[in-house]
Subunit: 98 residues, 2 copies
Amino acid sequence: MCEKNLHSAMGAIMTVFDTYAGKEGDKTKLSKNEMKELIQNELGPMMKDAKDPGQVDELFKCMDANGDDQVDFTEFMIALAVFTCICHGKEVDKSKVK
Amino acid sequence: MCEKNLHSAMGAIMTVFDTYAGKEGDKTKLSKNEMKELIQNELGPMMKDAKDPGQVDELFKCMDANGDDQVDFTEFMIALAVFTCICHGKEVDKSKVK
């Protein structure tokens, strides 16, 4: 059974980040290319703009809070938390319509 | 294969929150009892203080940003993001020691 619990979800988030951040340059941070690849592979179905270069650049700028042209784990986690809250809000709205 | 990707991790986080929040009272928020149960069941192995009532009360107060004696999904996600960053930092430190 695929344990759908919090502990494995947190582990998956860390594994995904480390996998993409480890591809080039600083192994502890996402470059823009690494972030583009992560978004398209991991969140493509959920983000209609995942293929739009302009939108991805905008998103990268928002995530890169300290402006070092890279996204560290904390910046990544903040963006993921915001995105998850948006998705959860939509789920709640959908369940009210049913 | 248990897909260890971001999309299913986000889904698991939402499912865990909704499962525990739906047990009593307001179905969209965690009561203190629901939060205690969630922490002990889901994060027990990771949190040595999960069984200490005093520590759990402290944690609940920290999570309850608007002071309504309940934890909504945004408050929960902020706490989870902080906790995941702490765990990730420890993992990075461990890998440096190897």
